[in-house]
Symmetry: C2
Subunit: 192 residues, 2 copies
DNA sequence: GTCTATAGTAGGATAGAC
DNA sequence: GTCTATCCTACTATAGAC
């Protein structure tokens, strides 16, 4: 299996190639800045061929987000089962970092692209999951300092993977360093 | 002077009202997701009236970014004059946080909207300023851990002000708490 | 400074042949 | 699964009246 397709596709299907092309363009130009014509051109086909794979432009975005949303749901549900605050924070922190590193580009897309909330308004709702993640990190009745640290952490975790300077950093290394930095940001002790 | 217009406009001109409307829509829907019709509708006028104030859609975005870019340039140039690494980091950190708080929505727009790099490719170039800010924070020959902390900090600083949960937080409080959190993230001692 | 009207283009999406 | 051809809508932008 090629290294570039880890995690998104087991086989090189027309569908998976289309999704990869769309993700690259969405990351660079934004969803609203990318036309179906641009996607088709990148694949060397016509728009009609794109419509054979997906019934609409929204369907492409949904398909791109689906694996991330699914992983987010799993992370949130697992963390919410923990019984101490410390364990909840620990669980959600490692879970979100893992997911942000595995889905680097899609995470940034979900965090920053205005087309995502517009789409999920009537859909499976990534916003609610982000909200639950925030609550887990905040805990009950947070001080302003905590509120602000957690807000900063949210942007940092989801957006960092897209940074071109980190493109060459291995997943494992990136995960480890992000976890250390996130603990510092929240004022947690590094685990011995 | 009304509290809502601090920093962007001394008088309530048609131009300043237009910029405020555009910024609100750009923040919510993205630049590419906002049409001139939407801006005109929000002001209760027609598109032609918008074109009387700005010759193109790009010109509106440029006018919105200009005060932030100008402040960024000032911050970078001041920091680059400092002679010790510690003083450079201190200067750029306080400067960027101050600017990110004063221009909360525009900062997030510049950081996250794909229309901004597309525009500045041929313009005054905010990308080069961001690059210089990154260099000041990184220093020469950074370890991977530092590279990743600084990448996280960059997203965090520019995006945090847009967080709706922090809308009620006063500028002064937000600035102070962001500075404390940023120091923790970078592993700096709080100033005594 | 705002309007009506319109040009010219590009967008998402569909129909039907191969 | 990909094509050509087309529909309809929305977009940016301009011209010219008030």
């Amino acid at each position: 299996m090629d290294a570039a397709m880890r995690g998104d596709a087991r086989k090189e299907t027309p569908r998976s190639r289309l999704l990869a092309a769309a993700l690259a363009l969405y990351s660079r130009h934004g969803v609203n800045g990318t036309s179906l014509q641009m996607i088709a051109d990148r694949l060397g086909v016509t728009k009609a061929a794109v419509y054979h794979q997906f019934r609409s432009k929204d369907a492409i975005l949904l398909a791109l987000l689906e694996p991330l949303v699914s992983d987010m749901r799993e992370v949130v549900e697992r963390a919410e089962c923990e019984r101490t605050r410390t364990a909840q924070v620990e669980s959600v922190l490692t879970g979100v970092i893992d997911l942000a590193v595995r889905h680097r580009e899609v995470s940034a897309l979900m965090q920053a692209d205005p087309a995502v909330p517009a789409l999920h308004a009537s859909q499976s709702d990534s916003a609610a999951l982000s909200e639950r993640i925030g609550q887990l990190l905040l805990g009950p009745d947070p001080e302003p300092g905590r509120l602000i640290s957690v807000a900063m952490l949210g942007s940092a975790l989801m957006m960092t993977g897209k940074n071109p300077k980190l493109a060459a950093v291995e997943d494992e290394e990136l995960r480890r360093q992000m976890l250390v930095a996130a603990r510092r940001l929240l004022g947690l002790r590094s685990r011995g």
